[in-house]
């Protein structure tokens, strides 16, 4: 059941002819989203057609084909600037395109990956040595994973799989059950992040298959999914590409990171931290960005005041991905319940931004957000990466781990001693 294709209708998209110093002329463009091929391969101009003269030539960098060696990683980490008292070290090397992490009950660290690798890894400790094993392979984009009650959950574009008794089956994972499949099958912004609450409900964002467009129904939203019976409810609308989120341990409310649109300028719009405080908020996409910037084409008469503003502006093109509330007690007290967030770093900016681990100290109601930079320096010069942080997770000893999908590694950030 390719559930989401059932939603398909005719999507109408206004495409603006960019004209300097003259009123832009809107030209309405139609896409027929009734066909199966539309959903597997959206028209390329949905995400390639927004290039401006100003941003011309900027394109996403592919990851290095092979993971960095331990020697390279150790040399790289010497260039990372840490906040006072914090230290960083290599936790595990040889984890190609490492993305979201999840702990098994017995201490196995599961790690998803980006789609050139298409693997899920299990990292175990054997006498102090970290052993990386590829437990699933040849998936499409298994970025999002979660673990609950002995089962590993893997989100791969249009299916969420459940692997029972996963930690005891690292040599041969069991055949998965599909626990949810009402998801569009396209690849662009089809990669997922799986946040999970204490009851085992999954929080999953569905991005539009474009940079900026009036996307079809069933996208631009966050759903809460019950993997026990395959039902879901929409909990947020007007969301672009979100690949990170966590439940606030103080309130049980969902917070998430969101990547804003590209091709406006180096400095606009800001990426966002969002907070679902009540109801089903609409966060503005595609009409309004960063809470106060109407889209030059797609605002279509809407005002930003109609939408819920971000909890915090993270900055332009920092590319916020995985995030976790800090629940350990190793770090200074001010960081208790702070949001630790991995900035993946830019592509659509002449001088890259982000590539850092930041902590946002914020009240449970969203008041008084304050950002601290914990680790920085993965971007060298204007557009060179030493690494790209993609996720963070609390470790049992109160440190945090960072997944890097560029260098193919996991780092450990600790405090003190």
């Amino acid at each position: 059941m390719a559930g989401s294709t059932k939603f398909a209708g005719i999507a109408a998209v206004a495409v603006m002819a960019l004209m300097a110093a003259a009123p832009a002329q809107a030209q309405l463009k139609h896409y027929d989203s009734n066909s199966e091929s539309f959903w597997t391969h959206p028209p390329p101009d949905w995400f390639l057609g927004d290039e401006t003269q100003q941003q011309k030539g900027l394109s996403p960098q592919p990851n290095p084909p092979t993971p960095a060696t331990m020697a390279q990683l150790e040399a790289n980490l010497k260039k990372i600037k840490m906040a006072p008292g914090f230290k960083i070290s290599v936790y595990a090397a040889n984890v190609p395109e490492a993305r979201q992490m999840a702990w098994g009950d017995k201490g196995t660290l599961f790690v998803g990956s980006w789609f050139d690798a298409g693997n899920v890894y299990a990292i175990t400790d054997e006498g102090g040595k970290k052993v990386v094993k590829t437990v699933l392979s040849k998936l499409t984009v298994p970025t999002g994973i979660a673990f609950h009650d002995g089962a590993l959950y893997v989100a791969d574009v249009n299916k969420i799989y459940k692997y029972d008794n996963a930690e005891a089956s690292l040599d041969k994972m069991p055949a998965p059950k599909v626990v949810y499949d009402d998801m569009p099958p396209y690849i662009p912004h089809g990669w997922k992040y799986l946040a999970m609450d204490k009851k085992g409900m999954l929080y999953v964002a569905f991005g539009p298959p474009c940079n900026e467009c009036m996307a079809p129904t069933s996208t631009m939203q966050v759903r809460r999914i019950n993997p026990n019976n395959g039902t879901a409810e929409i909990i947020a609308l007007g969301v672009r590409n979100s690949v990170g989120g966590d439940i606030d341990p103080r309130t049980g409310q969902y917070w998430f990171s969101e990547n804003a649109r590209d091709w406006i300028s180096d400095d606009l719009p800001s990426d966002k931290l969002e907070h679902i405080a009540s109801g089903v908020p609409h966060f503005g996409y595609p009409y309004c960005h960063q809470g106060d910037l109407p889209d030059p084409t797609y605002a279509m008469g809407h005002k930003c005041s109609e939408f819920v503003p971000p909890a915090f502006k993270l900055g332009p093109h920092v590319a916020p991905l995985g995030m976790k509330f800090y629940t350990g007690d190793q770090f200074p007290a001010e960081y208790k319940d702070a949001i630790f967030l991995a900035e993946h770093g830019s592509w659509n900016r002449h001088k890259y931004n982000g590539g850092r681990i930041v902590a946002i100290v914020v009240g449970p109601d969203g008041r008084n957000p304050k950002q601290h930079v914990i680790a920085s320096g993965w971007i060298q010069g204007d557009r060179n990466f030493l690494g790209r942080p993609a996720d963070v997770i609390n470790a049992p000893d109160g440190s945090i781990l960072v997944a890097d999908d560029w260098a193919g590694a996991i780092y450990r950030i600790s405090y003190g001693k």
Binding site: H41, P42, G49, S59, P62, T66, P67, D116, I187, P188
Partner: protein
């Protein structure tokens, strides 16, 4: 032609049987490169049907192809067993060496289908090929040098993307681009690109 192709397949098979790869061993890398050239042409410029030129390709592009063959994500009876024997160090050494070889310099032969060239040129501009493949289509980062590549290789690649046998690197662009091209458009694009330098 078949004779040469089977010879090069033999060389590749011999390489695959040569035992576990040794890290960054210069002599071993030279052996491996010799096996590459037995099919891909002297100095990486192919004269064989269906075999791509690998000289002057971006390092990242070359390395990704070897990784894809090694994991079996891209199928090839010849390349899979070869890549299966390569270590990460081998792949980096081969990629960085081939990237330094000069690209094809000889002028393309007289154009037997100028109308196709014109259509192909318009398609290339309209599809923003240069956005990822670079101005002049000389390749950059993970995107191949497609200027001067063999016409049959380019045409097969477009079909492979359209029909799901290949996928994009880093961003999912090529399947989406190829999806909208019909057979004549793919032929025109391949013809045009093969004539660029």
């Amino acid at each position: 032609m078949m004779h040469r192709l089977s010879l090069c397949a033999l060389a590749a098979a011999a390489l695959a049987l040569a035992g576990p790869a040794r890290a960054a061993d210069d002599a071993a890398i030279k052996d491996k490169l010799a096996a590459c050239f037995s099919c891909h042409g002297d100095n990486g410029l192919s004269t064989l049907d269906g075999v791509p030129s690998i000289a002057a390709q971006p390092e990242l592009f070359l390395e990704w192809q070897l990784v894809f063959f090694r994991t079996g994500r891209v199928k090839s009876e010849i390349m899979q067993p070869v890549a299966a024997e390569l270590s990460d160090d081998d792949i980096r050494a081969i990629g960085s060496y081939l990237a330094t070889l000069p690209p094809i310099k000889t002028s393309p032969p007289p154009d037997d289908a100028p109308a196709m060239t014109e259509v192909g040129g318009k398609l290339a501009a309209g599809r923003n090929c240069g956005n990822c493949h670079g101005e002049g289509f000389h390749g950059q980062q993970g995107a191949a040098r497609i200027a001067g590549q063999r016409e049959d290789v380019l045409l097969k690649a477009l079909h492979d993307y359209k029909e799901g046998r290949r996928f994009g690197t880093g961003v999912a662009a090529m399947p989406e681009v190829a999806m909208e091209l019909d057979d004549d458009q793919m032929k025109a694009l391949a013809h045009y690109m093969s004539r660029q330098r």
